[in-house]
Subunit: 171 residues, 2 copies
Amino acid sequence: VNVPGRKPKTQRRRKDGFLTTGEMARLSKSTLRTVRFYEEQGLLEPISRTVGGHRLFREAELAKLRLMSDLRAAGFGLEEVREIVDLKRGHSTGADAARRAITELGKKIAQMHERARLLSRLAADLEASRRQLDACTRCEDPRFPVNCGQCHVMTSAPLAKALRVLWNTES
Amino acid sequence: VNVPGRKPKTQRRRKDGFLTTGEMARLSKSTLRTVRFYEEQGLLEPISRTVGGHRLFREAELAKLRLMSDLRAAGFGLEEVREIVDLKRGHSTGADAARRAITELGKKIAQMHERARLLSRLAADLEASRRQLDACTRCEDPRFPVNCGQCHVMTSAPLAKALRVLWNTES
DNA sequence: AGCACCTTAACGCTGCGTCAACGTTC
DNA sequence: TGAACGTTGACGCAGCGTTAAGGTGC
């Protein structure tokens, strides 16, 4: 029996080794809703159900869910995720499948690099903005915020692009 | 008069220097719908309208829209975007505003670095998967796809995590 | 005059979040 | 037995995409 008021330190695993919906959610940092939704969409499949109707998943499905969550977080839509996890399907030979998968993965990887470049460029610009804002922590001009555009901080040469938007305005 | 069948090489700019909705969209790589939606949400504001009702924006609004588009592409929701572009507002002194902006920007930048790390880890794993799949382009095993899990390619030590999901399955 | 461009209004879609009401597990 | 956990609907929401029907700019 569970002792109330005392949480189990180790997650109790089922004796059959299968995972419940909640375990899938926790171990993949997603949610019950997402697991069920992905099943609805045919992206996950429980190996069976308990007599009471609870879903039971194999470990392989957890790995799949983790990959899919990462792909979603990386900015791919569910259809693209589906294409990726289905890459092996629909080919008669392994060599064919591998060749197709290699080219498709190449495209996705390229998209990720593009996104990473955008991200780091933006991050760099925001960091520059942040640094340049340091001068403003000593601002004593009572005409704030309307006159920031005339202030020497905002007019001295290479102003970060974001800062122009964030600070160099009348309002 | 415009000569039909011949597109203008240089974008015609209005004599007053203002930008139409379409120009805003094109120059920010977004869409008409997005510009209008952002106006509805109070994120953009046309300086005026033509007598016929067409919106006219200043260049500063274009810069703002570009920043907002980048922030959206970087994974921030519209509310977070709004917080960022409104950082200057609601403070009585410039020094106050700058200090708050510095700490808030710090948080956003940290989130971006986190996302970038996730992205590059996933990209690296997909690249490893892609490389390891090269061996499979020479696969001649007729038991594909059901027996990939027993193949030496999939059992030889450090298999990329994604590849385990993509290939190491029965179906 | 004619064509590219713009307008509002309205509905559609994705990817879940969030109840409610109720059943299961151990 | 009771606390934790799971089930199926059903509706809600963000952030636009996408027509439709029509007016504007030059």
